[in-house]
């Protein structure tokens, strides 16, 4: 019995093993890797990717995908800095505003997916295009600024640890809690596992889907805020990379693109694997073209590994 449980969680365990091996291996090979300073860097670097990937995990768990995440990140970072223009007293209202806008976008994604039945890949691709266009109409070049106080989000430190670690940890913890402790989390898995069955069991699947897309847009907004703080300025192209980057840790973490299987427990080590790899390749001075090739190979290999498991 016990063994069976183990076997079920095997992919997740493997991700953790890979992470540990990578971590220990890099520490041995590079003397700078395992220094307080570098580890702090690492954690700070992981935060943004970690937060968007948390939202993406939800979207993929219901058998969907959210390609609009990247442009929402850009939008929120531009709006935040663009409206703030360094004025500290506007901070709270602006944060509320950008989150509200992201929630609205998430809602529209979910609404269109549930209403029209168009594949989420297409709806969110369309939405990505729309939002990206809107950002570029709003601001054509990096612009705006933030008040000094807001810098704390990305650059502050609490004791030894950088503040982003807490920000990321809070989001990740909340995500895990929602997925595994609440009825909503159960519905997310059920909707991903078999939507029709979930619906016939009385789960309001359309509502679940809409909420999930709101969650993913919400995490995108949190990332946008973080990037605004980290960069001090809104950049209309800052989020572009997250469209595809956010999906990679989710899949490395063993969540299946067909939905209903996996979860954040795999995504989090996935985020760190990617961050450590990029960090380590920089430390070793790997030429950037080869870095691309390694990235591509990792994506394929990591996933090739589990899908064969079944």
């Amino acid at each position: 019995m016990m063994f069976k449980r183990w076997k079920e969680h095997w992919p997740t365990i493997v991700v953790f093993i890979v992470l540990v091996v990578l971590f220990v291996g890099t520490s041995f090979v590079s003397e700078v890797f395992f220094t307080g300073r570098n580890l702090k860097n690492l954690l700070r670097q992981a935060a943004a990717l970690g937060i968007v990937s948390t939202g993406q995990t939800f979207a993929i768990l219901i058998g969907g995908i959210d390609l609009s995440i990247g442009s929402v990140v850009s939008l929120t970072s531009c709006l935040t800095t663009g409206i703030l223009e360094g004025q500290g007293h506007l901070l709270i209202p602006v944060i509320c505003l950008v989150i509200a806008i992201a929630v609205l976008i998430g809602f529209l994604n979910g609404f269109m997916i549930t209403r029209t039945g168009v594949h989420p890949l297409i709806v969110t691709l369309g939405m990505m295009s729309i939002v990206q266009g809107a950002v570029l109409v709003y601001t054509k070049a990096p612009a705006g600024s933030i008040p000094e106080s807001f810098m704390f989000l990305a650059w502050g430190e609490v004791g030894f640890l950088p503040f982003p670690v807490f920000y990321f940890a809070a989001v990740a913890f909340l995500g895990i809690f929602v997925l595994h402790r609440t009825a909503f989390g159960r519905y997310v898995y059920a909707t991903g596992g078999n939507e029709e069955v979930a619906r016939l069991s009385g789960v309001k699947t359309n509502r679940v889907k809409i909420v999930v897309y709101i969650i993913s847009a919400f995490t995108a907004a949190l990332t946008g805020l973080f990037l605004a703080s980290r960069m001090g300025m809104g950049d209309p192209l800052a989020g572009e990379r997250y469209m595809l980057d956010s999906i990679v840790p989710v899949l490395i973490g063993g969540t299946s693109l067909t939905g209903g299987k996996g979860g954040l427990v795999g995504t989090l080590p996935g985020v760190f694997i990617i961050t450590i790899l990029s960090n380590a390749m920089n430390l070793f001075g790997v030429s950037s073209y080869w870095q691309w090739i390694v990235q591509g190979a990792i994506i394929i290999l990591a996933v090739a590994f589990y899908w064969k498991q079944k």
Partner: protein
């Protein structure tokens, strides 16, 4: 309309030579230098990257190691890359920022730690760096527009094909161009469309503009040779031989030559990479450097105007036998040219 006279010094940046004391950075060689590059995803950036490396190799006696990172156009990644370089204990960081703002906080932090930073090509927003090696985008925009307006004798219709929506240099070149435009009330901009610095977009957009304006187009302002090389082909196919602007990209230069267009080019020179290394060495040796180092650039025209004159004949720069993606105004030794 009357032809206006401009002095060339107006176009160049005036605060270029503010020398700064560098004794506090003085160190004994050999040095470890980090180069945080925004990307090498287009040939301009590749050439610049090579200029940096080639120059570092020339100074092997002084530079022990040169670490180079590539942020793949991701500002967020570049912040991490730069942190990684500091973690590796670099004595100086050369930073070619993906965006002015994104890299500002990290540059500020490094600067405050006492590690010198030399910005290259694109600076950061605040003044928290040691020196900035560049060629002004504003100047480029102004110069191109001035030539164009003077070619039209101060009256006519033009279209503007700037670079990438969302990118800083593109906006700066537009601002420069508009400053000049405001002096020429009779030059009308029919339309302005971003081209993503892509030859194919340049051609596609130019073709559509020809369809909607036809012969009304009397001049084309492109902020770079990339879309310029595409646009010129669309113009040639439509039989519309109008003045056009661009940069020292070989494809652009050779097409101008081949199709015999009235054209001008002002390089945003890749050789600033080498200059950045030389400036860095001065910093580490405690030799004073300017806060902003403006790299000299070549201006080419097929037809001179009152204020814009060619530095050398066009044909000496256009090399049909070389790859179209090469940047001609470089200082790379033979063995460093990408082959």
């Amino acid at each position: 309309a009357e032809e206006r006279q401009f002095s060339r010094s107006y176009l160049w940046d005036s605060n270029a030579v503010v020398m700064q004391d560098m004794t506090k950075y003085k160190k004994n060689p050999p040095y470890t230098i980090g180069f945080s590059n925004a990307s090498i995803s287009n040939s301009w950036r590749v050439f610049m990257d090579r200029e940096v490396r080639a120059e570092a190799e020339k100074h092997k006696d002084l530079i022990k190691t040169l670490y180079v990172t590539d942020a793949q156009d991701k500002p967020d990644k570049q912040i991490g890359d730069t942190e990684d370089l500091v973690a590796k204990g670099c004595d100086l960081i050369i930073l070619s920022a993906a965006t002015m703002a994104a890299l500002d906080p990290i540059a500020t932090r490094i600067h405050k730690q006492g590690i010198p930073i030399v910005c290259l090509d694109r600076r950061v927003k605040s003044d928290n760096f040691t020196s900035f090696v560049t060629a002004s985008n504003f100047t480029q925009g102004r110069m191109m527009m001035l030539w164009l307006c003077q070619m039209l004798k101060g009256k006519g219709n033009i279209v503007m094909l700037p670079g990438m929506a969302g990118a800083g240099p593109a906006e700066e070149r537009i601002i420069g161009a508009k400053e000049i435009l405001s002096q020429f009330p009779d030059v009308k901009v029919l339309d302005m469309q971003y081209t993503s610095w892509s030859p194919s977009e340049g051609k596609r957009i130019m073709a559509a503009m020809i369809q909607s304006f036809g012969n009304k187009i009397e001049g084309v302002w492109c902020d770079s040779g990339l879309q310029g090389s595409g646009a010129i082909e669309a113009l040639q196919e439509a039989g519309l031989k109008v003045p056009i602007t661009g940069e020292d990209l070989n494809a652009y230069l050779t097409r101008v030559q081949k199709y015999e267009f009235p054209a001008m080019s002002i390089g945003f020179p890749v050789k600033m990479g080498a200059e950045a290394v030389r400036t860095s060495l001065k910093v580490l040796q405690g030799i004073p450097v300017p806060f902003i180092v403006n790299v000299t650039r070549k201006v080419l025209t097929t037809v001179d105007t009152a204020d814009v004159k060619s530095d050398q004949p066009w044909d000496t720069m256009a090399h049909p036998e070389w790859p179209g993606d090469w940047w001609i105004d470089n200082t790379l030794p033979q063995n460093w040219l990408p082959k």
